[in-house]
Assembly symmetry: C2
DNA sequence: CTGAAAGCGCTAACAG
DNA sequence: CTGTTAGCGCTTTCAG
């Protein structure tokens, strides 16, 4: 950083004023072609690059989006990041990425840091802890600084900002409905991730589908670590012919668990998971899933952000993406 | 951002000077306790936060690390990010993350953007395209700006900077050796990712182990998309009893391919992959792997960066982490 | 067509 | 103990 040449440096070398250099590089009509050529040549020679900090300070705009992700190891969020990056790049924005690791503290820190660093807008998916505690003060603080917030996937209704999520209720309903139509009668909802908004909506969709079909709801909970073992036990003790798992990992673990409990899949037991990722596709049998459309969601979230920046007073948008049921080998052909 | 209160704003409200406010908030001994209390109360009330851009401009240091990842969807790189984030946070650094998507252009842009934004140091894993083309000019440019560069995992010897990688040669050698000792004689190297430094080193380790054992080397290449189909064909046409796959995904796909070709694993065919991630653990049979230790690598990379920042003239460090062979169900118990 | 000057928000040397 | 001033690098009036 110390070596970096500045406008002042160039001006000194060329024996002209700073403002002339600035204007020449910006191709201002005020400047003669000959000076422009000269200035640009010097800039190239000395590898001049404008200092983004100084620019940001001046413009009060950094062309930067902040993004806060609860867990980058989850394939779904990685996909969202790809979508965000894609759309952001297309619009000339760079990204500052933070990880909340599902904690309120880190989420809070990241939010502050991003607003300190002058992010033009912040995209975030609320951490599990934040959702469980129902805390929203830190989110509203950010809004107070006049920094647009866009929530994706995990959304809090208590915060007045743009958001985008998939239709979790609908997705779960359809998946359950598919299981029922393929002849399953004893379906259990497997949920080791707990109390996120997303998990709750999926559960409700599941319950509604069962109710509409006049079937009895069943639900199984454990930690993700013990899922295979405890679920196998559960499957032996109960009459079950289908599983709706709340995400991808619990989906494949449910498959492994069922197989170890002696089930053949999908003949004796069908499994559907959420979040279509690398695990679902490569597992054997491959996992049927409700596609969460991470990349699309990321792209749309950026569009919401840009729209908000260009249109600060427009009405708040709460966007919902339809899910898509991807049938693979863990479900019977209907 | 418009709403944010500044030192000047606080000073006006309190009817004192900007520098007094600044010093009071910094707990300078020059300032009386009573003013400190007053200033701090006002700062809290108005939710004052210092502007990081202005600070960075002043200090020529932003407490920010830039990081450039070729592919965030690869579990390995996601793990590295976690390690980096962890260690960075511990040391008060924030992260600006960029994705190169395996392209030279994006890598170059990201590098420029990070140096423009005043990143104190940049950690990067070289994109595939960069490695294939052997391009290093953009990397040396960054060094020219006096910004420390730390390369991790995919390292270019042509750039004079700190680096950290695993001992790929050694890891591949040991894995191959393990296969040989467990009785395998016809081992094939499966590599759909092409010409990265990492893939090459793994192949060399593989070849050396075979040479030392007096066995004939075999190698199979295809795109990752066609791997399952083409490899199954290959396995039917050749006598093969073990596979060393260059990464995790090709590892599990090799398993699937072999099973579809009628092999029983590990009895008739053993498989070892690289990069220990979520796929390896959850697949059935689970995949034995050479652990690439992403999180550790991320942490160490940050340490290298901080060390370089505190010690600009110290000798260049090229660190190498030993790998670890994790035996699961895709290999015979030796 | 070119330059001087002010200011973005912050810090720090220097006066008072 | 408090305030004035200059300057980080850049842009942008406003003069010349």
């Amino acid at each position: 950083m110390a070596n970096k040449i500045t406008l002042k440096g160039l001006a000194q070398i060329l024996g002209i004023s700073v403002s002339t250099v600035s204007k020449a590089l910006a191709d201002s009509p005020e400047i003669s072609d000959s000076t422009k050529v000269m200035v640009k040549a010097a800039a190239r020679e000395h590898k001049y690059r404008p200092n983004a900090l100084a620019r940001g300070l001046k413009y009060k705009r950094t062309k930067t989006l902040g993004i806060i992700i609860p867990d980058i190891l989850a394939n779904f969020f990685a996909k969202v990041v790809v979508g965000i990056e894609d759309e952001a790049e297309k619009n000339g924005y760079s990204l500052i990425t933070c990880l909340s690791r599902e904690t309120l503290t880190k989420e809070d820190h990241s939010l502050k840091m991003l607003s300190d660093a002058g992010a033009d807008a912040i995209l975030l998916s609320v951490s599990r802890e934040t959702q469980v505690k129902g805390e929203v003060k830190h989110l509203n603080d950010t809004l107070h600084y006049d920094i647009p917030l866009i929530m994706f996937d995990r959304v809090s209704e208590k915060v007045e900002c743009d958001s985008i999520e998939i239709d979790d209720h609908d997705g779960a309903y359809n998946a359950t409905d598919h299981l029922i139509k393929s002849g399953c009668k004893n379906i259990v909802f497997v949920n080791p991730i707990g109390d996120t908004s997303v998990a709750q909506k999926r559960k409700e969709g599941f319950l509604d589908a069962l109710k509409d079909a006049g079937l009895e709801p069943k639900s199984f909970t454990s930690t993700i670590e013990n899922l295979e073992e405890e679920l196998a036990q559960y499957l032996k003790e109960n009459t079950i012919d289908a599983i709706l798992a709340v995400d991808e990992l619990s989906g494949v673990r449910s498959i492994n668990s069922a197989i170890s409990a002696g089930f053949s899949i999908p003949d004796q037991l069908s499994v559907i998971g959420f979040t279509d990722g690398i695990l679902s596709q490569n597992h054997r049998p491959s996992l049927s899933t409700v596609n969460q459309r991470g990349t699309l969601m990321g792209r749309e979230a950026v569009k919401l952000a840009i729209n908000r920046l260009e249109n600060p007073t427009s009405e708040i948008k709460r966007q919902i993406i339809k899910t898509e049921l991807l049938l693979r080998d863990s479900t019977r052909k209907a």
